[in-house]
Every structure is written in C-alpha cells, then in structure tokens.
Symmetry: C2
Subunit: 358 residues, 2 copies
DNA sequence: CAAATTTGCCAAAGCGCTTTGGATGATTAG
DNA sequence: CTAATCATCCAAAGCGCTTTGGCAAATTTG
C-alpha cells in the first residue's frame, strides 16, 4: 500500500551502501543463497560461495547489523553497565584497562561493546529496560557491592551476565571473576608483620564495595592471628585518589604513635602516601614501609624493571579479557552452569618496604 | 509459509517481555495507535494516550531497540572509535573521564554509547564497515594525529562525526572540539621565562599526536620570542606514563647543565618528575620548577584547595560532554555547517614553580 | 533404466517496529 | 436535514536480514 518513506537517496549517504537484495540481484541469485553463502551454510556450492564472497568484497557489502540482529534474535553486543552515583566508577583509571582487555576479546569473536551509565536510584528499572530493549545479549556488572540486588534481578530477568568481582552477601550461584583480595591483603600484612611492623595502617577503597571489604578482612585476619589488635585510628576508607592517600598518610604520620607501615589499595593512593612521607622528611622503605595493590595499569606502572612499591599485583586488563570470554561462553551456551574464577595476586617486592625501625 | 523458528518460549527469558503486538491486543487497539500514543503523535485522543502509557508502564513494555532502529533508520547510538596500535588510547586515564562526560550527555538525550577498538592497520576497512553495519548514527574520533586520513574518509562516507582534537594537516572543514594547546603551552613557557628560567625542559606526549605537536609548537614559540634557542637535549616525547616522566627527569637532572624547569604534558608525567626531583635530593618549587598540563581527572586531581602543581588546566570531562552534544546536534541536523570549538586552558598557580635559582 | 537420493537453489514468512493512506463515526456548517 | 469537516483509529507495507519447507536437476542406486 504505502511506499516506505525512506528512499534510497535518504538511506544511503553520498557513498553507496549495498543491501542483501541488491547484492543478490547483482549476482542473479536469491537472497537466501547469498545469505547462506556468506554465513557458511553447506547448502551452497563452493563455486557459488566463491563468487558471492568475491562480489561482497568488491561491492563493499556488510550486512546491516540491526536487521541481522532482529532476524536472529541475537545482537552480538555486550553491555557494560556502569553504576553512577556519588562516585563515577567509570572514571576510575582501572576501568580503562579493564575495558581494553574486554575489548580485545570482543574483537576476536566479533562482538560489539556497549556502555551504559546507570544511576543507582533507578537501577532496577534500568536493567529491566536493558533487557526489554534487547540490544545486548548479555552484560558485565561492574563495581559489585557487598550486597548487590542486581545479581538477583538479572538472574530473574534471565539476562546472561558476569560480575567483575563478587557480592559477599549473595549466596545463589552466578558467574563471577574476582581477584583473591582477602588472600592478597593477608599476605601483604603478614609480610609487614614479618618485617617487625606492628602499627600497620590500612588505606582502603570504599568499603561498601565488595573488594574493599574483603581486603580489610584479609588485613584484620592477619593482624589478629599475630595477636595485634586492629586499631581503628589506622584505618581509612574512601575513593582511591592520590589526595586521599596523601591526606590520610599526612594525618597518620602526625599522630603521637604513627604507623610504621602503610598497606594501601591502589597505586594512586600509594603515590599520595609517598608524597606525604617525603613531605614529612621521612624516607620510604627505611623510615616507613608501603605496600600497595597494583592493578598493573598501562599508564600507572609500578616501575619498569625494579618495582617501586612492594605490591600485590593482579592485572585488571587480563581480568577484563577473561570476564568477556566467560560471558560470551555463557551466551553461546545458556544452560551451562555458572562459572567462577578466582585470580591470585602475586606479591612483588620493591624498595618501599623494609624492617620496622627500632 | 514457514513458521518462524524463534518461538515465544525461546525469545522471552523466564521473565515476560512484551512486544507491541501483545500490548496493543491487550488494549484492544491497533499497533499503529499504540505506537503513535507512545511516541507523542497528535492523532490520538488524550484519554487513549493515557491508557496506553498506563498499560505500558504496568506491563513493563519497552520497545525493542533493534526493531525500532530498523524501522526508523536511526539507531540512537553513538560510536566511540578507539585506535589501537602499539599504544592503547583507551587505557589512557584521560579516556575514562572523557567518556564519562560524553555518557552523561547521551543519557540526557536517550542515546546509547558503543565502543569499537579499531586496529590502525585496517582502519579504512573498519570505518567502512561501521557505516555499512549501521548500528551507529555517528561517531566520535579519538586521538587524531597530525595528518589523519580518517577525517577525509568519514566525510566521504557521509557518516556524522566529531573529532576530539584536530588534525593540523587537514584543511577541509569538519567538526572538532579541541583545547588550545598551543596557547596553553606558550603561556606556561612564558610564565617560566618570566620567573627567570632559561633551561626549560619539555616532556611531551607522542608527537605524532596532534595535541602533542601543538604543545611543542607553543613551547618553542615562546622560547624563540625571548631569544632562547630550543635545546633538543631538553625535549622528550613518548607515551605519558609516570615512568617516562621519572626517567626523563632523572636523566636530564644528571646533565652537566641541567634544566631548572620542566614543562610536562600530563599529571602522570609530573608525578614521575616529582619523584626524580626528590630522588636527586632537590626540592620542587625551589630548586626545580614544574608545570604540567592537567586534564582535571577525577582520580588524579591536582590537589584539593591548593594545587600541587602549577598547571594549564582544561577539563577533559567537560570536553567529552561538549563533543557528545555537538555530535547529537549534527545528527539531528545533518545539513548544518561544521561546528568547531576551542577550549581555553586556565593557568593555575601551585607550589611547584618558583624563581630560577641563581 | 527407473527409482531413490542428493545437491543447489528459491519463494515467502517472520523478527518488532514505524508510517502511509485510508476508513469510520461524530461534529459542524449550509 | 444533508454535506462537508474533524477527530480517531486501523490495515498493511516496509526496514534488511534469516530460515523454513519445497522443488528441480543432477547424481547415485538397485
């Protein structure tokens, strides 16, 4: 009845954009055959397939992703959902490396990557919408908190997902990949205890975040096991900026009984702590020891050959790749059991630690 | 003839997902009317519109984005294309802030954001494919080089785009937003010259990148205008990491005639330079001055109340927002003339600069 | 050499939406 | 009271692809 409003001249830019119909007419074949040829189905002779591929390349044909996705029900797209609230998870330098790692995995398997900023306040609605709008086949959940309602919601929605991190309070099984934060910080604390330190400060990330909560757990575990009482005056928890590290350390170093060592949650914090130590006229590694967690970020490397800081290191970029692979696997095989993966951090020894001053 | 393979039970997860047909049957209305009601067309009575909205909310209906986009020819999605080559632009901490800023603008106007990693080697093919696949309405070009073939290509393809930065060698008009890098570094250099510094080092980003090239231009301009010959031994150019800053400064400070001031291209470099200065037993701001460019990143703030470093500051997050807005504007109004915007950086005075030692 | 397979291709339906060009009944004008 | 005008709503086509079920022609089989 009605001609469709989008005429060719409107749809195509100044540059030609082929569609399947045109390509098949050009080849004097049906759309079916061309489609099958391009998608590697067996019901087409090698000669024809060759011809089709040739023509597709010459005429610069790529199938329209939206049409394809509508027809197949799969979008070949992964969503990364970034919670935005007071703090912006995304601007965290860690995010860049994570996403870079994931991106590599997507490219390999022909997936696209979509970012969505979601406000904490209408989280539930947002995730429902993502499902309904249907432009992703699955999502990666960033920044899990200790108790995170998103996991139950997504399970209920039946939208495949993998969590980067875990939510301590969720007991139902789900897909996650996490660093063994507890163990890393227990080891780091042990290392400092072995060096004779007893007043060890913890400068941590926000402890609503699951990873920060676990790190603190490891730290306290280790202290208690040696009969050292965790001192609340030596613990801070906030967003992991340089300033936060600087301020915390400055203030603690000014205490009557200052810490002799700092265990901190990120390179940025560590850099701030180092500044505070210098400013106090002390030397790092001699007067005060520092251990940091190191996400092995490309732009904030912990030294080149010799590490600057003693650190618990775990590559967040590798994590990104693995999480992406897990999700794509899950999408391919929706009935498979939930996968989990725990990455161990390695303790690398730099020049920022030494025996406790006597 | 053939029933479609995707049955309801397969398409829907365990959770109900409404489509337009079902919604309209539920309301005893045609799909046309429901569609018009939801999209605010006038040919529908207020009472009906009300009913439709009500039902949509109750039944948790959101239109399928892929179908909608196929029907309208618009995808409501912006692509961010990240060149990956030796270095990974994306992992640059700047990227996180930029994308966060852009993301906010997208949310406002109901756009989605898609990231694509594109290898430099098959750039042309990749951009063609992006156009053909048609899942973005426009793209944002990151990391422009001095001569950047992407601009001509995209213009030819007729795919709306905005460049974050500029390409010096491209003379045809196109949409861009840039910081006035030349001016910023000229001012910074002038500032140091005014303080009596004559041996001023430049620790720059990769100079194939347009922004770095311009910064160097500003620096050299200022020097020459005062009759100071730019000394190649005082100039370095590489990826802007902490290590690079540290190494460059260490080496230069060990020269026979070391620089008395450093002009550097990023906070990370500056932090490395500071480390080198401390390690050399010098004091920043007294023995050696440092000015950095400061992108005002959320996680690498240049001090709180009092800036640490004297800096040329320009918020990359604001840039992200503006670029996104420009692109959406351009998409809405494809025939409008190319827009350009030049952001001025402000010079903020911290404690890292002082008169040249005599 | 006829019958049973196999091979290679095709027409048409369907994915879920928008939009065109009516149609229908209510309202107003002549 | 009839004709013209509106205000609402609808059927159906089309966006560009995949996939089902068929159907000739070529090949193999008995």
């Amino acid at each position: 009845m009605a001609p469709h409003p989008l005429t060719n001249s409107k749809r195509f830019g100044p540059y030609l954009r082929m569609n399947l119909k045109e390509l098949s007419e050009h080849l004097a074949l049906s759309q079916t055959t061309v489609s099958r040829a391009l998608n590697g189905y067996p019901e087409v002779s090698e000669k024809t397939r060759e011809r089709v591929h040739q023509a597709a390349k010459e005429l610069n044909y790529s199938p329209n992703a939206r049409a394809k996705s509508l027809a197949t029900g799969r979008s070949q797209t992964i969503g990364h959902v970034i919670p935005v609230s007071t703090q912006h998870e995304m601007v965290n330098p860690v995010f860049g490396d994570f996403v870079a790692g994931a991106g590599e995995a997507y490219v390999q398997q022909g997936f696209d990557m979509m970012l969505s900023l979601v406000d904490d306040s209408d989280e539930e609605d947002a995730y429902r919408k993502i499902k309904a709008r249907g432009n992703v086949d699955g999502i990666i959940v960033h920044g899990p908190r200790m108790q995170d309602s998103r996991i139950a919601l997504l399970t209920e929605l039946g939208l495949p997902f993998v969590v980067h991190g875990r939510a301590s309070d969720v007991t139902t099984p789900y897909n996650w990949l996490d660093t063994n934060n507890t163990r890393a910080f227990r080891r780091a604390t042990d290392f400092l205890l072995d060096l004779g330190h007893r007043r060890i400060a913890l400068i941590n990330g926000l402890e609503v975040m699951d990873f920060a909560h676990r790190r603190r757990g490891g730290y306290e575990d280790a202290l208690k096991k040696r009969g050292v009482d965790p001192d609340p005056a030596l613990m801070r928890s906030e967003e992991m900026t340089e300033i936060f590290g600087y301020r915390s350390a400055s203030e603690m170093l000014a205490m009557e009984s200052p810490p002799t060592a700092f265990l901190v949650a990120s390179m940025m914090i560590a850099i701030g702590v180092r500044r505070a130590i210098h400013e106090a006229g002390l030397e790092m590694g001699r007067d005060v020891s520092v251990i940091t967690h190191d996400d092995d970020l490309s732009y904030i490397k912990n030294g080149h050959d010799v590490p600057i800081f003693t650190a618990t290191r775990s590559s967040v970029r590798t994590a990104g790749t693995r999480v992406a692979e897990m999700l794509m696997q899950q999408i391919k095989n929706p009935d498979s059991d939930p996968q989990t993966e725990l990455m161990e951090a390695e303790l690398i020894i730099g020049t920022s630690t030494g025996p406790a001053p006597t």
